[in-house]
């Protein structure tokens, strides 16, 4: 490193000026992202009377973070949301990889209509699907005597399917960029198509899978419309549950709502910190493939 730096000495000044500009821009982006979050933190530390009407709290009202757990069943909502979002992310990514592999590697008659319909489904408004979907689930429940509306299964199934079009599209583009020589070699050596997918394509597609996991996870994490209809009090997700802070009270508890929002962002942020390394590692592996 030092030798390399010495060898490049004549350009160091220009480089460091460029680095300073980049650093300033990075700090600008950081402020853009964090200032609204900082405001949330400030509101969460205000008492419930002045919350939201002032900027800096008169005194730090730390009790908010203790009070919020008993106002609504926050722990349950968080657990439900995490479970549903992780199941959605994993199942959508795995299912999508199979479909994406076929779309990327083969030409078949309905290939283009299928790809077009994937993009077309993105244009479908959620409110259009809500009522018909509810009707379908109720009919299935009656005929098969299984529990869908109000169960984890029903919500995950719904979110997973909504996440599929984007995941398939994204992964098919990704798989198409992978070299197919190794796959062909494995097939020549007598491997089954499934084994090729599992042991050759899957490891190479991990960076793409991480991206689809993130988007599917967030789709499930962010939804309020479908969760409000398809969950029961015991499977209620955080997006719906948070509304209780301002719905059932005469005085809206802005401070507790903001505190609960901050807490509810923590698991997702931690998850993303871990995923971040995966993306970097996956890219490092991808760049050596030559």
């Amino acid at each position: 490193m030092i030798v390399a730096a010495l060898a490049r000495r004549p350009r160091t000044a220009r480089r460091s000026r460029g680095a300073a500009w980049r650093y300033a821009a990075a700090m600008g982006y950081l402020a853009f992202v964090l200032l609204p979050v900082l405001y949330m933190v400030l509101v969460s530390l205000q008492d419930s009377v002045s919350a939201g009407t002032i900027l800096v709290p008169k005194s730090l009202h730390w009790q908010t973070f203790a009070e919020m757990w008993s106002t609504v069943d926050l722990g349950l909502y968080l657990r439900n949301s995490l479970l549903i979002a992780i199941l959605t992310g994993v199942s959508a990514s795995v299912l999508a990889l199979g479909a994406a592999y076929v779309v990327a590697r083969f030409r078949f008659r309905f290939r283009n209509p299928f790809r077009i319909s994937l993009l077309a489904t993105q244009a479908v408004p959620g409110v259009l699907l809500l009522l018909p979907l509810f009707v379908i689930y109720v009919v299935i429940q009656h005929t098969l005597a299984i529990h869908i509306v109000g169960s984890y299964f029903g919500v995950v199934l719904t979110y997973m399917t909504f996440a599929l079009p984007f995941a398939i599209w994204m992964l098919s583009v990704y798989v198409a960029s992978l070299p197919k020589e190794i796959e062909e070699q494995a097939l020549v050596d007598g491997a089954h198509r499934y084994e090729v997918l599992r042991y050759v394509t899957f490891p190479l597609a991990v960076p793409g899978l991480v991206v689809t996991f993130i988007f599917s996870f967030l789709l499930a994490w962010n939804d309020v419309l479908f969760a409000s209809v398809l969950t029961s009090p015991s499977t209620r997700t955080i997006g719906v549950g948070l509304q209780n802070y301002i719905a059932d009270n005469t005085l809206p508890l802005w401070n507790q709502l903001m505190a609960a929002s901050i807490i509810s962002a923590v698991p997702a942020v931690v998850l993303f910190m871990i995923v971040q390394k995966w993306i970097v590692a996956g890219l490092a592996a991808g760049s050596t493939k030559g």
Binding site: A19, L30, A96, Q122, V127, P132, N222
Partner: protein, 323 residues
């Protein structure tokens, strides 16, 4: 490489051109369709079948009295469509206004997001001390649930007591009594809230596309004297163009269909500037329980949103032929 329109041509099709016969079952040349069966079945049941049912509902007078036996709801034909699409129809001005609000909202948001997101992707694709930290922090707005985001900005934009009005008056830039949640400003309030929340989506897509560009390409470009802006124009942009195109389409569609943000920020009787289509449809379906009318309006919304999707696919195919 990685661009959608080039994917088909980049993949050598594993079928022998001479014999037109279909590869035998179990042959490695035959496409393993079973791998896509679960996805196709789920999409059929949970997306396409509901669309068909919604079409049917749009032709009926389904309301809260007939919902118990929805198949028996009176058939009204195209009445809901005429009510909303004919100039003198009772819901025509409501629909027209909502289409205008939705288009303004989704196009403004996308136009603001693209430079912000692409700038960040280019910045954090370069080496920078603490890059992993910055990259992760950029995702925070996107991780925050839409509902929370809407509440946060509702607080920020609150008239008189909101932090924005306090800031504006402290800096003598505006009156403390500026209304952001009613009147013409409400559109800007919603645009700002959605830009802040949704830009990391485009940023992530751009970053992923940038990272598929091999470093050797830049080295070669530098040797040829193309760096900085020219490197971006002639090396980076052509290679990520189709991903950016997809990002524009998806972003426009996502904003157009965003229900949670306007619903939580403005409630069920919003100012007309932000009475976007999803909100209008929701009110017609689940507040006044005119399910048939709501379904007809959502079919119209679907038709509008298919336009950018079709345009994108067209452009992608044209690019394929020219190569």
């Amino acid at each position: 490489m990685i661009t959608p329109e080039r994917a088909p041509s980049a993949v050598a099709v594993p079928h022998a051109p001479v014999q037109a016969r279909r590869p035998a079952r179990g042959s490695p040349l035959r496409a393993p369709y079973w791998m896509m069966t679960p996805s196709v079945a789920l999409l059929a049941l949970i997306v396409f079948l509901p669309i068909l049912i919604a079409f049917y509902i749009s032709l009926t007078g389904l309301n809260q009295y007939t919902i118990g036996d929805w198949l028996r709801a009176p058939f009204v034909g195209l009445r809901h469509y005429m009510d909303t699409l004919e100039p003198q129809g009772p819901f025509a001005s409501s629909l027209f206004n909502s289409v205008k609000a939705s288009l303004a909202f989704s196009l403004l948001t996308t136009a603001l997001i693209m430079p912000i997101a692409l700038g960040a992707a280019l910045l954090f694709n370069q080496s920078l001390p603490g890059r992993a930290f910055f990259r992760a922090m950029m995702l925070i707005p996107y991780i925050i649930p839409t509902f929370v985001n809407a509440i946060l900005w509702r607080l920020v934009f609150m008239n008189g007591t909101g932090v924005l009005d306090q800031l504006l008056s402290a800096l003598h830039l505006g009156s403390r009594e500026t209304f952001w949640l009613i009147g013409p400003n409400s559109l800007w309030a919603m645009v700002i809230a959605d830009v802040w929340a949704a830009w990391p989506f485009v940023y992530l897509m751009s970053l992923a596309a940038l990272q598929t560009i091999p470093a050797e390409l830049y080295d070669a470009a530098t040797i040829d004297g193309a760096n900085g802006a020219r490197g971006f124009l002639y090396v980076t942009l052509p290679l990520i163009r189709s991903t950016l195109g997809l990002a524009v389409v998806l972003s426009t569609i996502n904003h157009f269909n965003n229900f949670t943000l306007p619903y939580v920020m403005f409630g069920i009787s919003p100012p007309e500037q932000v009475n976007v289509l999803p909100l209008n449809i929701f009110v017609n379906s689940f507040v006044t329980f005119n399910f048939g009318l709501g379904a007809a309006m959502s079919v119209v919304a679907l038709a509008i949103m298919l336009t950018p999707a079709v345009l994108y696919l067209r452009a992608a195919r044209v690019g394929d032929e020219s190569r």
